[in-house]
Amino acid sequence: MTVAGLQALLSHWRRNPWQLFTMIAGLAMATALWSGVQAINAEARASYDRAANALGQGQYAQIVGRDSAPLDQAQYISLRRAGWLVSPIVEGELDLEGERFRLTGIEPLTLPRGADAPAPLELSALAGFIAPNGEILVHPDDAGTLANTDHSFRPDPGQTRGTLTADIGLAQRLLKTDAITMLLVLPDQPLGQPPLSTIDPSLVLVEGQGQGDVARLTESFHLNLTAFGLLSFAVGIFIVYGAIGLAFEQRRPVFRTLRTLGLPLGRLLALLAVELTLFALAAGAIGIALGYIFAAALLPDVAATLRGLYSADVTDTLTLRPAWWLSGLAMALGGTAAAASGAFLRLNRLPLLASTQPRAWAADAQSSHRRMAIIAAFLGLVGALFAAFGSGLLAGFALLACLLIAAALALPLTLDLMLRLGSRLARGAVPQWFWADTRQQLPGLSMALMALLLAMAANIGVSTMVSSFRLTFTGWLDQRLASELYLNTTSPEEAALLTGYLEDKVEAILPIISIDTRIGDLPAEIFGVLDHATYRDNWKLLDAVPLVWDRLAAGDGVLVNEQLSRRENLSVGARLGHDTVLGVYGDYGNPAGQVVLGMDAFHARYPDVAALRYGLRTGVADPKAVADDLRRKFDLPPDALVDQARIKAVSLQVFERTFSVTAALNILTLSVAGFAILISLLTLATMRLPQLAPVWALGLTRARLAALELVRAVCLAAFTGLAAVPLGLGLAWVLLAIVNVQAFGWRLPMYLFPLDYLHLGGLTILAAFLAALWPALRLARTQPDALLKVFSNER
């Protein structure tokens, strides 16, 4: 009975391969987008862990020199001799074969066990590793590049690309230093240990971060990606919902027959569940494969984004990790279950002798529209509560979710009202029928239209955010990069020589002087600025006391960047340590907090820090001539002088890559929505004949009917697009004013880009037109006897 029942059920799909394709394709696409995003996240997280382990950052507390001064070896020994279990790390940049590598020197005997990153060190290898010319661990992809150097390398997949790990002795020799960058503090320290300050007051203990700074900083980025993945998944699930619902409706006669023949309802439901599980697994597998391809294609851009925004190193090759493919399968199964639950509930209530007629689409459309609108209103209220009382990134996303779902649910009623208005205004039999018929199609298309609404709103919202960001960012670059030339020197002596020479050749020499520190346990930079018109004229302060530049120059207080201001709750007038905050400035694209001091105050506080970089205001002189002169005169390397334009170009390039992932996701989401429309229309096409045949019989040509079908799809897309614009702008506002502040620490002004929206609207209508084209052509070519069959007895 079970086998026969299953055969009867499955035979439906053999007869309707298109429906089967629809369901599998919808689910596979949904799973692909979801698991692709998850794959990217998993890879990035693995990279952070690797980095955290390799550098020992995050996981362990560290001891560093005050103001990031390097440590010398005697300090390490004196700590060990005082009973502090610490392990030395030296870090630096190394140029090999024309490429720059980040070299980390470790001491394997004292290294904490968890930070034992250069694992597979075999027995024979320890002697080889700590030998005078020991082995250097390198990512296998880099090993080829370095094959011809004098050093011996050991390929180790545990390394990140562009990084090298060597014994500390060798690393110090390669980096030409005797110093130690920092000491990792082991978790278990002995009894009776004296406090650090009594051993060496110049050392600072920095507590471990657990997850590490990078993971914390990038968390919001990944949450963003996950939200996008979920949105795409939801769009895909709309397709599956439609396909399952249709298949259930069409098989009602089969169900009834099976039940009449004695198949218990429970068994029938179980069989259907088995059937759907099989489909979900198959579609999930396809989706995961597609997701892998998708993620592999996007990962380099994501890696570039993370490098650009957060200086986080992420490998750009993808590994198959159970975490994401299992989640992909789970989402496929869960999504199918969610999409099928309605159909199952209906089936469960199906009386044995119910009408075998497929239920009229419009039957209870009105009441269901109203129900959805009520839920939408409720969600809107919840969203408003989140907006009013919520805080944090999750609240921002919750608000987004409420907004989007509420808008989607309200869409059918909105469209219905628009169409009713249309039919009210229509004159003539055909227009009147057109609007009435379009209203009738609404329930069948509403899922696809909701998907389209979400995709379009996401597009509008994200493109508004990105474009606003771009506008603000380029404006900000113009402010901040006011100097025509930037000079990099390698020592205070060289700096003195070059600035002395330039004294009377340029209008101003502005030292760029800073130290790295930590504020509230997160990285921060402290800058000193000269009192110069460049800053007064170009820096736009978000908020400031009167005469801020004079007071800064006088050492009355400090400026902080917006990120720090928000993070530490420092508004103008607040105290940061002993300093008063005089002003807050915008600092886009920088994960770290910044504090700006007047130059005198900076020198007084950090007498040992010397400026090695300078901004040069060339005034009337030609920047290129100044640069060429200086290069010739002092035989400077190309990097010593950088012009403003180049820095801007590089910054903008980082920016563009940052958002290329978002752009790709945007296009994919919109494509999925287009596909949803196509599928809905094709599905409806089979049910359309009874609705169209009478009109045809009354004298409308098939070509005209087909044309009207196209117009209908375009109209619906256009109406949806109209609804999507305010929703998208709302989305953009939430992204800019709430999510962005939480994620990056700065708020961006919102700009509107009507031409972009028009362009997107055009694209959407084109997508709807293309989606409707095939079903319309099929209709135009329908043979009369197919239409006539509608009226005949055999139906």
């Binding site: 009229a360 419009a362 009874p690 004298g699 005949s792």
Partner: protein
């Protein structure tokens, strides 16, 4: 008014081509009512569809109001359906998205002959004035057929083609529908060509043609 000459039509089926009509000729006068009877599959529906311009004959000639239909393209045949003939099927005649009133007026408006008074009278005549704002799905099968008749006659066609219009109804309802069709047609001076397999019903019409294996047999 209607002249059918030597009409043939065959369809491709699984067993090869089937000759559905094999040289059918007959004529109808204005105001005449004609019953077309025959076994299932004898070709009566096909003949009706050809006359209504819903399909094309393989050969032969149909003239309606002295106008030759053969050679008309899809557009021409659609225009014929809009203006000259009215077709009533056994079921699914109505446009589900329109109300009863809109359905009744629809054909007349397509034909450019919309007369609100006439529509009102017809609605009254079929006894559905109270239901005029309902949608077809809310009506019984008999009521739906009445709407179909009203809609057809509202457009004042020269010829009504009815394909088993009562086939789905019980006897009482069938009787009412037939009466309604014949009476309103007579009042409008419209010819009626009705396909039926019921000799009882056929007897109520002015003349009867019997179709057997694609030929007129009596």
């Amino acid at each position: 008014m209607l002249q059918v000459e030597n009409l043939t039509k065959s369809y491709a089926t699984a067993d090869g081509r089937t000759q559905v009509l094999d040289g059918v000729s007959f004529g109808m006068e204005r105001g005449e009512t004609l019953a077309l009877t025959g076994e299932s599959g004898s070709g009566k529906s096909t003949l009706l569809h050809l006359i209504g311009g819903l399909d094309r004959p393989d050969s032969g000639q149909i003239s309606l109001n002295e106008k030759k239909m053969t050679g008309l393209d899809d557009r021409g045949r659609s225009a014929l359906r809009r203006g000259t003939v009215g077709i009533i099927f056994q079921q699914f005649n109505l446009i589900p998205s329109l109300t009863v009133a809109a359905n009744i007026a629809f054909h007349a408006r397509l034909a450019g002959r919309h007369d609100p008074d006439w529509v009102e009278r017809l609605t009254d005549r079929i006894g559905l004035t109270d239901q005029r704002d309902k949608y077809p799905e809310a009506l019984s099968g008999g009521q739906q057929q009445r709407v179909a008749i009203a809609r057809t006659l509202a457009a004042r066609p020269k010829l009504v083609l009815a394909d088993e219009p009562t086939g789905n109804l019980d006897e009482d309802n069938a009787e009412i529908i037939l009466m309604l069709l014949l009476e309103t047609a007579r009042e409008a001076g419209t010819s009626v060509l009705m396909v039926t397999h019921s000799l009882n019903l056929a007897a109520r019409l002015g003349r009867r043609l019997h179709l057997s294996h694609g030929r007129i047999s009596a």
